[in-house]
Amino acid sequence: MKIAGLAVVMAGWLLAMAGLFITGSNAGRAIFATAGIVISLIGSLGILNSAHLATVIWKQ
């Protein structure tokens, strides 16, 4: 789960970067970058954090 979370975090950045090459319009690039940011946040605060919360000390 942790590796999956990190992969999603990185995928967000790759999506934002891909937008630079896929489209030349500012609006298109802004959409790609924003989507990338959201995906990275899901990866870090969602998936990765859930993996840590599964074994967290107050649940033991």
Partner: protein, 559 residues
């Protein structure tokens, strides 16, 4: 025509002439302005300074005897003063002003370490005070060492020229790769150990200023991981942050790396713009703090079995608020100092930068105070402090590009944002951050980066261009959507690359040496198990329901 009509006409004529002269005055003045004339050696050779007889009498007024032609070095005594001597002295004076400004601002930023140490230590329990203070103390030594060895070279090794500091020309090697036809600067390659050609006066000034910025980043992490971080793991983590992670993003943003060139290579405004480091310093620190907090996990007693959070109050609000003021004071070095000079290339904007900094800190604390007062019925001291810091963090990046009104808005948003973020990490994400470092620096650092893309008013002019793109940095609200995209790419890089890099390294450290102290040590407090000495040996520490020694109480006082 009678006498009255005659007088009226005379008056009218006079008014007409005066009016015409008034309108023509600017044109006449322009015509009358002396044409620029090139000075020659002849013009300066006759200039004489005060005589020795006058000098020995002293100069109480400082008007005419001190700082004269006598103080301009002459390259050839036989020839006397030449225009070349005068011009060289003018150039030397400009660089000297910039060196002095940058160094003094660097000293102010260095003093911020004391502020961070006080804020963080005040917000944790007394039983961990020595441990937290020592983490804040040693980030200076550990971070500086790592930065001197390789961090500075990675960050600034290809940043030349820096005109305000005389060029720093030895730092001229950037590793650049080409991907799909576009160049991407990745890291610098000159300046390791400050040896070789980087033994240069301008490089030394730049090193000092950049080093204290890096130090600020490393000290952010210690607050988020306080009260349960193994000291040895902290040392390893800090060295890695100062040697690799911070310098990498610093290069991309400030060292002529690929983010700064998004304007040149992709036509996105002026590329990623981060005037004083909301992204480079605060987001890097805040996101590393998030990575480390996830790995070390929450403190014992922070969350109940149902996941609801408990408030664990700090032990000394006095040093929290005093430390906060020290930080606000140091920020006047942080932001205005980022011009790297006070003379030439639009550096006189330092006044505007300083006022923007002041205003955002003010509105940040005010917004946080109001939010907490309205939501919980009391004005909260620690959140007011965090609100001020959040405002300062958020204005760090835009401070050089926005006007005072925008600064107030940015600070205000940051003050509310930090309160919402602290609640989010406490109640939703359940990430334990004893001092709110992730919210203050990570979240508001990202907001500061975004704010440049929105609020930059296109009025700044630092030498006519920024990041190699002519003109002034202009945000979406003033007509440049490309700048906003560049900022979004920067935010994505922080979240995607810097967070991942920090997480992976600290994860490996956790596997090898372990990041968290054992439960027994945590319950006892880390001062004795980790550091071998109590911070407050003359105080009896109160026992709480978690077995924690908590609030310091003077010996003999009733509990």
């Amino acid at each position: 025509m009678n006498a009255n009509q005659f007088r009226s006409r005379i008056l009218l004529a006079i008014f007409g002439i005066v009016g015409a002269l008034s309108l023509a005055a600017p044109l006449m003045a322009a015509d009358a302005a002396p044409a620029a004339v090139a000075l020659t050696n002849k013009d300066v050779s006759g200039v004489t300074g005060p005589k020795t007889d006058d000098l020995v009498k002293g100069d109480p007024s400082g008007v005419s005897l001190t700082g004269t032609v006598n103080d301009v070095p002459v390259s050839d005594a036989k020839i006397g003063l030449t225009m070349a001597d005068v011009v060289n002295q003018v150039g030397q004076n400009k660089v000297a002003i910039n060196f002095t400004w940058t160094l003094i601002c660097g000293f102010l930023v260095m003093f911020m370490q004391a502020g961070f140490a006080m804020v963080e230590t005040g917000l944790i329990r007394a039983k961990n005070a020595n441990h937290t203070m020592m983490m804040n103390f040693m980030v200076y030594g550990l971070g500086l060492f790592a930065y001197w060895v390789c961090g500075f070279a990675i960050q600034m090794g290809g940043c030349a020229p820096v005109a305000n500091l005389g060029g720093v020309n030895p730092l001229n090697a950037e590793k650049v790769i080409t991907f799909l036809g576009k160049p991407f600067g990745l890291f610098g390659m000159k300046g390791f150990y400050l040896a070789g050609t980087s033994y240069d006066v301008g490089v030394m000034v730049l090193f000092l200023f950049q080093m204290v910025f890096m130090d600020t980043t490393t000290t952010i992490v210690t607050g988020a991981c306080a009260e349960r971080w193994k000291y040895s793991a902290f040392c390893v983590s800090t060295i890695f942050l100062g040697a690799i992670v911070y310098p990498l993003f610093g290069n991309w943003a400030w060292g002529c790396g690929w983010l700064s060139q998004l304007g040149v290579n992709f036509g996105l405004g002026h590329g990623y713009c981060d005037f004083a480091g909301s992204g480079v310093v605060h987001s890097v620190g805040g996101l590393t703090a998030l990575a480390c907090s996830l790995i070390v996990g929450p403190r014992i007693g922070k969350f109940n079995r149902d996941g609801s959070p408990n408030t664990i109050p700090g032990h000394d609000l006095v040093i929290v608020l005093a430390g906060c003021f020290i930080l606000a004071f140091g920020w006047f070095g942080f932001n205005p100092g980022s011009t790297l000079g006070a003379s030439g290339n639009g550096c006189l904007r330092i006044g505007s930068v300083a006022v923007n900094t002041m205003l955002a800190g003010c509105t940040g604390s005010f917004a946080a105070l109001l939010y907490m007062w309205m939501r919980y019925g009391k004005p909260d001291a620690s959140m007011s402090a965090n609100g001020m810091l959040a405002g300062l963090v958020a204005i760090t990046s835009p401070s050089g590009f926005v006007n005072p009104l925008a600064s107030c808005v940015i600070g205000w948003i940051a003050g509310v944002l930090v309160c919402l973020s602290v609640e989010f990490f406490d109640r939703v994400a359940k990430v334990d951050d004893p001092v709110g470092a992730i919210s203050v620096h990570g979240v508001n650092g990202l907001f500061g980066v975004l704010a440049v893309g929105l609020f930059a008013d296109g009025k700044s002019n630092y030498g006519g261009s920024w990041n190699g793109v002519a003109g002034s940095v202009t945000g979406l609200f003033y007509g440049d959507a490309g700048q906003l995209v560049a900022q979004l790419i920067g935010m994505s890089t922080l979240l995607g690359v810097i967070f991942t890099l920090s997480y992976v390294f600290n994860w490996l450290t956790d596997m090898i040496v372990g990041q968290r102290v054992n439960a027994k040590a945590e319950l006892a407090g880390l001062d004795i198990p980790e550091m071998g000495a109590l911070c407050y040996p003359d105080y009896v520490l109160k026992i709480t329901e978690y077995g924690n020694q908590d609030v310091p109480t003077p010996v003999g006082a009733k509990h």
